[in-house]
């Protein structure tokens, strides 16, 4: 079998280049957009995904982890009473105002008061034990490396949070927040910084570790709905993280924006690719018509066009994968929040291959001009 589609693609590569580039850049845009969105909105749940807790107990209806309201401290007892629970610890969230030593004005910060002991669950994945240990010093805080400039501090500097003096004892990586800046402190320091008197003897969240994490759904269902300790709800870490991300993605309109942009990228890519493929078909229409005169069926000719579309898609995707990989590596090295799982990658690449196939189908229509009778004149 003569590989007409591939040989033509190689011999007339200049003709196909625009289509390959269109698919490649469409793929690159989809990949980077997905990675950025997932990275940025993934940081909405960094408190949950960076911690080792299996269950989260907080105010009922809380839509995102940063919107927590305080619950009764007695909930801790309720959690401890359940035999499946191995450990419980509080999480004290304080919305605060930062004034640094440099001229940065007021900065809105989120103070996370956590158990600083080595076995603490909060930020177990995000902070090293040595770093956590430094929080035990009075008024010690940790900020993210990416926020040092906006806070106007370096390690060892002092600043003022809610009128209380604190000292930066270390920097973390990957604790960037959405809509503000994360500051990590010990529970004791956080309590000092919380100026709201109604929060006395109350806590924003209690997190729990289970003896068997696989039971999380079942235990969460069992623990919620008990009103003896006031209103509270219990979620598995997984569902609370997803809920926080979806809140940011859709309540901010960003999700709709991303989908819209993905649609635009698809459309533009498809228009360029299909026009290029149509031009390629028309350029060879007399040869196709000759084959048809010799009895090669229209179906077989369509297959040639679709094979070209497939190779255009494959080459474009190869390009976007390589460029995307480089771009993501660069983004990571610059602390730009990007996250891309295998399924998302596959979905983006599949979308672009779909783009090439749709374009091929559009180009196939111009084979109608390959009527051998037009060759006789």
């Amino acid at each position: 079998m003569v590989a007409l589609a591939r040989k033509t693609l190689i011999y007339e590569w200049r003709r196909f280049l625009p289509a390959i580039l269109a698919v490649g850049f469409a793929g690159l845009l989809q990949l980077l957009q997905a990675a950025l969105v997932l990275g940025i909105f993934g940081s909405a749940s960094v408190y949950i995904t960076g911690s080792s807790a299996d269950l989260w107990a907080g105010y009922p209806g809380t839509q995102s982890v940063n919107l927590g309201r305080s619950i009764d401290s007695g909930v801790e007892m309720r959690l401890r009473m359940d035999p499946a629970v191995a450990a419980v610890e509080p999480f004290h969230w304080v919305d605060a105002d930062w004034r640094g030593p440099s001229d940065t004005g007021g900065v809105s910060v989120f103070v996370s008061g956590i158990n600083a002991r080595p076995e603490g669950m909060l930020f177990a994945h995000a902070l090293s034990p040595a770093l956590r240990a430094r929080l035990n010093e009075p008024d010690a805080v940790i900020v993210d490396r990416a926020d040092l400039d906006s806070l106007g501090v370096g390690i060892g500097d002092t600043a003022v949070i809610n009128g209380h003096r604190v000292r930066v004892v270390g920097v973390s990586n990957g604790l960037r927040a959405l809509g503000g800046v994360n500051v990590v402190a010990s529970l004791a320091t956080a309590a000092e910084l919380d100026t709201d008197p109604s929060n006395a003897s109350r806590m924003t969240y209690f997190v729990a570790k289970l003896r068997d994490p696989a039971d999380a759904d079942e235990v969460a269902a069992r623990l919620r709905g008990n009103r003896a300790f006031g209103s509270y709800d219990v979620w598995t870490a997984e569902s609370f993280a997803r809920r926080s991300q979806l809140y940011w993605m859709f309540d901010t309109g960003a999700g709709a924006g991303v989908l819209f942009l993905a649609g635009v990228v698809f459309l533009v890519g498809a228009v360029i690719t299909s026009q290029t493929l149509v031009a390629a078909v028309i350029g060879s229409v007399r040869e196709y018509a000759t084959l048809n005169a010799l009895g090669v069926g229209v179906g077989a000719l369509r297959k040639v066009v679709m094979e070209q579309a497939f190779w255009v898609g494959a080459l474009g995707l190869l390009g976007s994968t390589v460029l995307g990989g480089i771009a993501l590596a660069l983004a990571r090295s610059r602390s730009v929040p990007v996250a891309l799982g295998p399924w998302t990658t596959l979905a983006c690449l599949a979308l672009c291959m779909g783009l090439a196939i749709v374009s091929g189908l559009a180009a196939m229509r111009s084979l109608r001009r390959a009527d051998p009778a037009t060759l006789l004149r």
Binding site: M1, V2, L4, K7, T8, I10, Y11, E12, S284, R286, E287, A289, T290, L291, N292, A293, L294, G295, V296, G297, V298, A300, P372, A373, L375, L376, R377
Partner: protein, 244 residues
């Protein structure tokens, strides 16, 4: 005398463009024999290409019947007609219509692969056809590296390799100089003789007349004369031949 392989019976074809109704073929009847090179000559617009299109099954007549190898082409649907063309007919066009990306051997092999031949057999046949048209040493060259005459020979090899019973050629020499035109018509003639193929050639090129076994002169959609251009050059009887 060899058998009749292609017949037209009372074929009529007309085209309508806007208010103008133009009859291109007027109730034509003719028979063609295997092993002969039949030349249809006439001025442009006389309907000779339309006749070729209808006889080869590329177009359907408005009225009348075409019998190719005993098969009524009107009975075949589009797919069956493609199948029929694949198995029995070859074409050579005025433009050579070769794929720029393929070398001569691949141009000839391409249609063969759709015939369901094994790759080895397709290659063997393609090479034999190229040898037959005298392109054996140049079969690895692409169209851009071949002269016009060589390209037309590749196109003939492409049609010939299918071993067709019917070979149609539309103005095969009009893009070529005299010497190359001579070579092409000689090859077509030889194919008719040695393979027993029915070769139907349409041309307004008067230089070809002497090379044909039979010349049909056409004008205004009618056949004016039907003669054998032998040294005696006696025109045969009328417009119609007795049916087989």
């Amino acid at each position: 005398m060899s058998s009749i392989s292609l017949q037209a019976r009372n074929v009529t074809k007309s085209f309508t463009s806007g208010p103008i109704h133009n009859t291109v073929l007027h109730n034509l009847t003719l028979d063609m024999r295997a092993g002969e090179l039949t030349l249809i000559s006439g001025p442009s617009g006389c309907g000779k290409s339309t006749l070729l299109a209808i006889l080869s099954g590329l177009q359907r007549p408005d009225a009348g019947q075409v019998l190719a190898l005993g098969q009524d082409l009107a009975e075949l649907n589009t797919h069956a007609l493609e199948r029929f063309r694949l198995q029995h007919t070859g074409f050579v066009f005025q433009g050579f219509n070769l794929f720029p990306a393929l070398n001569a051997l691949e141009q000839v092999e391409l249609p063969l692969s759709y015939l369901g031949l094994a790759p080895g057999e397709a290659r063997r046949r393609a090479m034999a056809s190229l040898e037959e048209v005298g392109l054996g040493p140049r079969m690895s060259l692409r169209p851009s590296e071949l002269s016009g005459g060589e390209k037309q020979r590749v196109a003939i090899a492409r049609a010939l390799a299918k071993e067709p019973d019917l070979l149609f050629a539309d103005e095969p020499t009009s893009a070529l100089d005299a010497a190359n035109g001579q070579i092409i018509i000689d090859i077509l003639h030889r194919i008719a003789r040695t393979h027993g193929t029915t070769v139907l050639c349409v041309s307004h090129d008067p230089r070809l007349v002497g090379h044909a076994d039979r010349v049909l002169a056409m004008e205004d959609g009618r056949i004016l004369s039907d003669r054998v251009p032998s040294p005696t050059s006696t025109p045969t009887s009328g417009l119609e031949e007795p049916s087989a």
